[in-house]
Symmetry: C2
Subunit: 397 residues, 2 copies
């Protein structure tokens, strides 16, 4: 049974007019005629990013040379940027370090958890989750799937707040309480939720995330690691590079861990990648996360309504239970997505059969939802994806 | 006894005229009146770096958005950049991955070595070496100092080709042979040698290095890891992120290591930091490393001669045994260096008593050596460093 949309393009235009976040779109570099629904994978560039990175190269590196470590604040970037990220995940200052990659932060978090729970060798994960988290910890612990529901002997439970495939969202407070009641540590991966909704990891033990999706920090932007203040003294950083030493410039022969969150830094920050992230965070300083979440739920609900039963929904139908993406199953998902991209609707495909569409509330419009769903309807109804030119696999999708 | 220099400034000008590398200096952003002798810590920006990074932000990220992973070659950066770095360390294509930081590469290299030598838990290091290498592996292995000369039960020996403090250079072929004869793996850290001399790690087992010193890749530029083709099948990557999976886009639940050097990647590259490094590598494609080494030896020898016995030499006097830096001991090294910097001679200070001066053959001139040594002589002879304004410690030096 086809659902019956109650809106038309004019209604979408009205929603855009009333959108309290509408002014942000002009702050991004976006294509004129294409509809970019992949902000859940790589966010669009803030217009200020190019200038901020130019400054870092020409005014900081070019002018200060090695003096930039002090004078341009490079040395402190893992901590200063961490403090700027903290409010986006419900954390406070001195609780977050930025840098490296999510995989590396996962390795640090799980290694720390295993040392905080000596004798426990099991880490509970979601086998359906984006597998990098699981790959990274396979060598560290015995993995058990969350579907077994057994936490009582686990050192830690590592889950993604939002599933990268379906967009399904965990009940963070509920799961955190359940895990901690079993004596295990709760580690949240917020890659797919930070910047899309009001993340709050504060009751958990550790968290990791990236900044290149909804936060728009740029390709390969620094990741981050949150360590609850409860654990900062007892937890150990397995990647104990010189940045994490109590006195990094004493060049002591032996390692002594710093107090506080600096203990979880590793080494030299990727300064130019931090610069682009800083431009993005300048924007986030002005964003109301309640408005982000409200718009995200409205955009994704409208999209689901307008696609109707043309595709099988893989995401939860209830908006509260979703992140800011909508996924559908299609046995020929790959050619379908290529046919859509060919017509300017950019989502992505995840093997074996998932079509994903991400909605970045800072720049996605209700009219984008309208226009995208019109094209989706045409591609599916006319079976345009059956054109053989869409069958050939590209190297990376 | 004061040494007796045989040159004057005119002679230095003539050496600059005859320098086959002299044209490279104009390709760098450098201060007009200051003498930058810290290229061993952070190289100067190639003039093309700003434009290359602008391209990455505006033309690649801005135009391709998520498509940049394919269309702008981001996905392949760890391998394509690795292949470009390979000739600088005597390695071949398919032997080097770029990314992350030196500390992380050290962790990967030592972890791999320990698994290749099961039953051996000792890693031999130089306790005087830049301590990040030692800090990172303290948790992995039992450390023993190289001065004990015992390798027979070691899993690996990790040494810096050039000592960060004194600039002393190891005999790489000799030490490699000695370590391997004892059944241990030889891991070279080439941070302080790559780009300063013709590094050749090819007989060793693993190597790590950074690209922000003599290679001029930018602050926090990607590090690299070399794995001998002999070990690429048996060696394991402890940081087994999704990039290193046999089929990263199959999103399989279990980890299967890729064949070849891709096995040693971790995850998403820091694309904007790679961009600046790419600009630097465009220059290295045109550089003759024999000319670099010849000029480096000439610059450092001239500097030592002109400083004479005003300072106690910490570096080897024989040019072949040095990298491209010259260090001196001074009990009041900190105020001495501050007085020099105040007069435009930029070296750095390493606790407790080392004055370091780095010579980057692509942009340091023989006249810079002359001018710097004139100022050093004045500061020392007039004891200008005793001014109390130089006594106060800055946060990071």
């Amino acid at each position: 049974m086809r659902s019956c949309p109650v809106v038309d393009r004019l209604a979408c235009e009205a929603m855009d007019q009333e959108d309290p976040l509408r002014a942000f779109r002009a702050e991004f570099v976006l294509p004129d005629k294409e509809i970019y629904l992949v902000g859940n994978s790589l966010g669009a560039p803030p217009r200020t990013a190019a200038e901020r990175v130019r400054q870092a190269v020409e005014d900081e590196w070019g002018r200060h040379l090695v003096g930039g470590w002090n004078e341009a604040g490079w040395y402190a970037q893992p901590l200063t940027t961490g403090d700027r990220l903290a409010p986006l995940i419900g954390a406070g200052p001195g609780e977050v370090v930025a840098g490296n990659t999510t995989s590396i932060a996962v390795y640090q978090a799980v290694s720390a958890a295993l040392r905080l729970r000596p004798g426990r060798r099991v880490v509970v994960v979601d086998r359906r989750n984006f597998p990098t988290d699981n790959y990274v910890i396979e060598g560290l612990a015995e993995l058990r799937d969350v579907s077994e529901g057994r936490f009582e002997d686990a050192a830690a439970v590592l889950l993604s707040e939002v599933d990268y495939r379906t967009g399904a969202r965990y009940d963070v407070p509920g799961m955190t309480a359940r895990v901690q009641a079993a004596g295990a540590l709760m580690i949240w991966d917020v890659c797919h939720s930070v910047g899309a909704l009001r993340v709050d990891v504060s009751a958990a033990d550790l968290a990791v995330g990236c900044t290149y999706k909804y936060l728009n920090g740029g390709p390969g932007a620094p990741a981050f690691l949150w360590v609850s203040p409860r654990h900062q003294t007892a937890a150990e950083n397995v990647l104990s590079g010189w940045y994490s030493h109590a006195e990094p410039f004493a060049f002591e022969p032996g390692y002594r861990a710093a107090d506080g969150i600096r203990r979880f830094t590793v080494s030299t920050p990727h300064v130019l990648s931090f610069a682009a992230l800083e431009a993005a965070l300048d924007m986030w300083d002005r964003v109301d996360l309640e408005q982000v979440r409200a718009k995200s739920m409205a955009l994704t609900s409208l999209f689901i309504d307008l696609v109707g039963d043309r595709l099988e929904l893989a995401s939860p139908r209830e908006a509260e239970r979703r992140g800011s993406q909508v996924s559908f199953y299609h046995p020929d998902g790959y050619p379908v997505m290529r046919a859509l991209i060919d017509r300017g609707v950019h989502g992505d495909f995840r093997a074996p059969d998932i079509l994903r569409f991400g909605f970045a509330p800072l720049y996605t419009r209700f009219t984008d939802v309208w226009d995208a769903t019109q094209i989706i309807a045409e591609v599916l109804e006319k079976e345009l994806w059956r054109d053989e030119k869409y069958a050939v696999r590209l190297a990376v999708t």
